[in-house]
């Protein structure tokens, strides 16, 4: 019965491992400080494309500097930062998640963003507004309320006076968008910028209530940054004319 004995050990070990091991939210960037000065930026998922572009431009403008990004839901990033994740800069999709970071310096609002309804290409379900999302049989993905896109969605839905029952609450806006791209849901409330980056796969339906749920995006150099100078340089670049150009091209609004 050797097999039983060994698997009994395995059972004990696995039970512990599988139940406790949660998603390891990958944030293994941030090498030790080198001469060039690596800058680690934690940024909202909705900034993925524009900040990646900005990072490349920043590196080109500051030779020897490398920028490492950790993109994710703003609330999760805030938790990671509070638990000691090594970040120099935090760019959040809402002031609430910035405030949750205890050692954020003085945040500056750098862009604003608002929601659209992302639907499959050609809008097969003929969605025209929030009220259409209440139709039975129509599958809707929303962000969880803790993440900014979910909070904004709740504000917009409340403003419209409708009740939407989503099939899933996603942990960041990209996850909600991908469910539309995969065709698993018929619609999702995502940022205008996200819908624009996926214009090949989804159509964006503008709706009036989104004006009541505009998100301010704050950015700040963190108090315990390993590379505060590099962090400040990156923030300055985001706020510069070059930075604004990239962000507005992606569909963000100036603050």
């Amino acid at each position: 019965m050797l097999a039983v004995t060994t698997s009994r050990f395995a059972v004990a070990g696995l039970a512990v491992l599988t139940t406790v091991s949660l998603a390891a939210c990958g944030s293994d960037g941030a090498d030790t400080a080198a001469s060039g000065g690596p800058v680690t930026v934690f940024a909202a998922a909705s900034l993925t494309e524009s900040f990646t572009t900005l990072g490349e431009q920043f590196e080109a403008a500051h030779p020897g500097t490398t920028v490492t990004f950790n993109f994710g839901g703003s609330s999760g990033l805030a938790t990671q930062i509070n638990e000691g994740a090594p970040a120099d800069v935090f760019a959040s999709a809402s002031p609430k998640n910035m405030q949750a970071v205890t050692d954020a310096g003085t945040p500056t609002t750098f862009v604003r963003n608002q929601l659209v309804i992302a639907v499959g290409k050609g809008n097969p379900k003929r969605v025209a507004g929030l009220a259409d999302l209440t139709a039975p049989g129509l599958k809707v993905a929303l962000c969880a309320e803790a993440v900014p896109c979910g909070a904004a969605a709740k504000t917009a839905v409340d403003a419209a006076g409708v009740t939407i029952t989503p099939v899933t609450l996603e942990q960041d806006v990209k996850a909600a968008l991908s469910k539309v791209k995969l065709g698993e849901v018929d619609a999702a409330l995502v940022y205008r910028t996200d819908a624009r980056t996926s214009a090949a796969d989804v159509d964006a339906i503008e709706f009036p209530e989104s004006a009541k749920a505009v998100n301010d995006y704050p950015i700040a150099v963190l108090g315990n940054a390993k590379n505060p100078a590099g962090g400040q340089a990156f923030v300055d670049y985001v706020l510069s004319a070059d930075g604004t150009k990239v962000l507005t091209a992606a569909g963000f609004q100036a603050p």
Partner: protein, 261 residues
């Protein structure tokens, strides 16, 4: 039997043990004990816990129904491509669960290989349903059961089955009356392993089945969402509840079934 344990074995063994236990100590150190019971009474927590226990148990049942015959086939029948089949079965083991979830979407999702047919023919869609959670859990946990049971079958003495055959038993009778009782402890061990893996399943579930309280939000998803929302204390409490429940159930099962001589 009192021999000195060689240090080159003792030291890494000790470090290994500390490595496994330390994170648990960290969890316990941060546990707000006073709010543990009040949290346990919260409807969100009981809903997620019940969903976790039900889906993991159903997934284990599915794995038993499919996995034991599969293990028997691998252990007892020579057929071409057996090695390839065995390798394929271990794929979900090495696959990151999130990748498994994406694969499930592409196979069983609304536009998936089989899923689109299910949707068009029967109007069945699996993502975002409790059945989807069971499927994700079973997909990830099945290899554990198959490997455990196949090992038990290979270790079992085939002379009993041969004796049954000489006495006129069909292969089916021999399987139900000789083989199954013989490897029952192995099946039980595999089922427990499978259940534990299903209970802790996260990546494939959130990717394939989504996250909605009461329908697809199992305890690991609830823990993740609680932590993502900035409530680290709540996440620690939920983790501890899941840990306590699973360890208690496993310990109880072990005493009952796995104390084979």
């Amino acid at each position: 039997m009192r021999t000195r344990v060689p240090l080159p074995l003792l030291i890494p063994a000790g470090i290994g043990l500390v490595f496994l236990v330390l994170p648990l100590a960290g969890l316990l150190a941060r546990t707000p004990w006073s709010s543990l019971l009040t949290r346990l009474a919260e409807p969100e927590v009981t809903t997620a816990l019940r969903l976790s226990l039900v889906t993991a148990s159903v997934a284990t049942l599915v794995c038993l129904l499919l996995g034991v015959p599969l293990a028997w086939l691998l252990a007892r029948v020579e057929f071409p491509g057996r090695r390839i089949v065995r390798a394929l079965i271990t794929v979900p083991l090495v696959l990151p669960p999130v990748v498994g979830g994406i694969a499930l979407l592409l196979a069983l999702g609304r536009r998936g290989l089989v899923g689109s047919w299910l949707d068009e023919t029967f109007g069945i869609t699996l993502p975002f349903t409790t059945a989807g959670v069971v499927i994700a859990e079973a997909f990830v946990a099945l290899p554990f059961l198959v490997i455990a049971v196949e090992g038990a079958l290979r270790g079992a003495d085939t002379r009993y089955e041969e004796a049954a055959a000489t006495l006129g038993a069909t292969r089916w009778t021999s399987f139900t009356h000789v083989t199954l009782p013989l490897v029952a402890p192995g099946i039980a061990a595999g089922a427990v392993l499978c259940w534990a893996r299903a209970l802790g399943e996260f990546g494939a579930t959130i990717t394939f089945a989504g996250n909605y309280p009461g329908i697809t939000q199992t305890m690991p998803l609830a823990v993740y969402q609680t932590m993502e929302s900035g409530d680290l204390e709540g996440a620690v409490v939920l983790s501890l509840i899941l840990l306590t429940v699973s360890v208690t159930i496993l310990a109880a099962l072990r005493d009952k079934w796995l104390t084979a001589p």
